[in-house]
């Protein structure tokens, strides 16, 4: 432990500058404690009691400024003090702060101070988030509740209350929504239009909204409900309210519903309401029962991409059959591409390894693979018999969701921090039985700001390994995002293509290419 201090005489710094200087100092690595205070006799007494009153500081006057730091490293201490002085100097020239920048300390405070507040985004710890959400609702605010670990009882209470008050209660565990064009939490910059979405799935919402935007359609509103909404106990409360809201919304002409299969009772409720609504409703309930939807007059789609394309066709007044033709053409193209790829793959390579950051995208991929070939192993398998024994080690055909709890304890989500997946990619590449690596890449607000910078080195290393071992292995990736996202989808795709990554235009397409490759290999 090292202690050093300086006296600054003859200058005055306003209180906010002093506070910010203290804060900045404390945030420096190695600084155990820092105090930037006036050298009054009394403050010196406190320093003494804290064993921080160095002899050279004793002569300080009331009007002098003291800067004292305690660090764990002798080398840096002088640098740190210099930094403090620099900060103080800079404050003299800094741009004026907006005196009206107001930070309330509570929801009640905010509501009183800011006229017209209408939406609260809550992402505090689950333990407290439920109560904060209720406070927001009670104050008449619509709520986006990003936090998870909120007890299910609380979720039900919140949603019932919100329904009564006709408020949005998006979440808990709702990662994405687009309301009035505003990207909430993880969301993409998409075109505005007349297609509304209700989603009990974050990345599902993202994939659908991005494809819609790319195909020339636009989003009116995208309401998230959190993953548990369509389970039996929550009963689809927000899902239904969301559908009703879009039904009434003037701007919305087409509605898209995105979710994993709802509980059958919830599905019934959804079907009932679909029947009552005149607007066209496209559904993608991954792996769910499409009969009930069809019978209710809805339009069930088989993939997220398909749902998006159908919605855009309807929105543009095109014939759905036309686009079905396009889909068929795409499938043909994918088949051909698969054949080309297989030619380069060595004998003995036969497995797929899918490494996902988006849960819904992982599920969609598993479903498509199952349809084409067989069940796959996973940490979140759609077939419970195919649960991986050790989630850290792939087994045969494996498609995993790295966003699940077992991978994210004490660690950022894979949409932000690529390190875990990068590591896994290299492990899979080294496995001589692997034929395909399948990835998702989700862009947008909240996601990693420089995905290309983080992925590129890994892809290059992968190629080096493969070269050395004289193997070829297609790395297939779909990018969920738009060109207007901060990362810029076009730019990212270009960069990845340059290093040999096969970019497909949707998760479904990427999954189909992968399964096609594996199928052909299997048949040979």
């Amino acid at each position: 432990m090292f202690l050093k201090g300086i006296i600054k005489s003859g200058e005055y710094f306003d209180s906010i500058t002093l506070m910010l200087a203290t804060k900045s100092l404390t945030e420096i690595k190695g600084v155990l404690e820092a105090a930037v205070i006036m050298g009054t006799k009394e403050n010196k007494e406190i320093l003494k009691a804290s064993k921080m009153l160095l002899p050279e500081l004793e002569s300080a006057k009331d009007t002098d400024l003291l800067i004292v730091v305690k660090t764990d490293n002798e080398k840096n201490i002088n640098k740190i003090l210099k930094k403090a002085e620099k900060l103080l100097e800079e404050s003299k020239h800094k741009k004026e702060e907006n005196i009206d920048e107001y930070c309330p300390k509570s929801i009640e405070g905010a509501v009183k101070q800011i006229p017209g507040v209408n939406l609260a985004i809550i992402s505090v710890a689950g333990k407290y988030a439920g109560d904060e959400a209720m406070k927001a609702l009670k104050n008449g605010l619509h709520v986006m509740l990003f936090s998870d670990n909120v007890p299910i009882k609380k979720e039900i209470e919140l949603k019932k209350y919100a329904r009564e008050k006709e408020l949005l209660m998006m979440g808990p565990d709702c990662g994405t929504a687009i309301i009035n064009g505003a990207p909430l939490c993880f969301a993409n910059v998409v075109n505005k239009g007349d297609i509304g979405i209700v989603a009990a799935s974050g990345t599902g919402l993202q994939e659908v909204s991005c494809i819609i935007s790319k195909e020339g359609g636009g989003i009116s509103q995208a309401i998230g409900t959190g993953g548990r909404d369509v389970k039996k106990n929550v009963g689809g409360i927000m899902f239904i309210e969301g559908i009703k809201a879009l039904a009434e919304d003037k701007e919305t002409k087409v509605i898209v519903l995105v979710s994993k299969p709802p509980h059958k009772e919830v599905l019934k409720k959804i079907a009932v309401i679909i029947e009552k609504i005149n607007k066209p409703i496209v559904t993608i309930l991954l792996g769910g029962d499409s009969e009930a939807i069809k019978n209710a007059g809805g339009i069930p789609a088989k993939t997220l991409e398909e749902a998006a394309l159908i919605a855009v066709s309807i929105s543009k007044g095109k014939n759905i059959d036309d686009f079905k033709k396009i889909l068929k053409e795409n499938e043909k193209e994918i088949e051909n591409l698969a054949k080309e790829e297989v030619k380069k793959i060595k004998k003995g390579q036969k497995y797929i390894r899918g490494l996902f950051s988006g849960g819904t995208l992982c599920d969609e991929s598993q479903l498509l693979f199952k349809e084409a070939i067989s069940d796959v192993y996973s940490n979140t398998p759609i077939n419970p018999d195919f649960k991986l024994k050790d989630v850290w080690k792939s087994y045969k055909h494996t498609i995993i969701d790295l966003g699940e709890d077992e991978f994210t304890v004490g660690r950022p989500h894979p949409m932000i921090d690529f390190s875990l997946r990068n590591k896994r990619i290299l492990e899979e590449v080294k496995d001589p039985e692997v034929a395909v690596i399948l990835l998702d890449l989700v862009l947008g607000y909240g996601s990693n700001k420089n995905p290309d910078k983080e992925l590129l080195p890994i892809i290059k290393r992968a190629h080096k390994i493969l070269e050395k071992e004289e193997r070829y292995l297609p790395i297939i990736c779909s990018v969920t995002g738009t060109d207007k996202d901060p990362q810029n989808k076009k730019k990212i795709e270009k960069i990845l293509k340059k290093v040999g990554v096969i970019i497909m235009k949707s998760n479904a397409a990427a999954s189909k290419l992968s399964s096609n490759i594996i199928k052909i290999i299997g048949e040979e």
Binding site: P104, L119, V124, E166, L184, D249, V409, G446
Partner: protein, 57 residues
């Protein structure tokens, strides 16, 4: 204000929790007020629970 009314109004958002959500919206040109929320009692580590999903520093 019912949901359909919200759709017709200008959003005025308060953000309670992770600061990056406020920044993103401001980048997209929406006005957001940060609430300097602190847990009613109890440990700092618990506040960081949300960062299990999202952490950036």
């Amino acid at each position: 204000m019912a949901i359909k009314d919200l759709f017709e109004k200008e959003l005025k958002i308060i953000n309670i929790g992770l600061f990056s959500f406020k920044e993103s919206l401001e980048e997209a040109n929406f006005k957001v007020f940060q609430v300097n929320w602190e847990p009613p009692a109890g440990g700092d580590e618990e506040v960081l629970d949300a960062l299990k999903k999202l952490l950036n520093s």
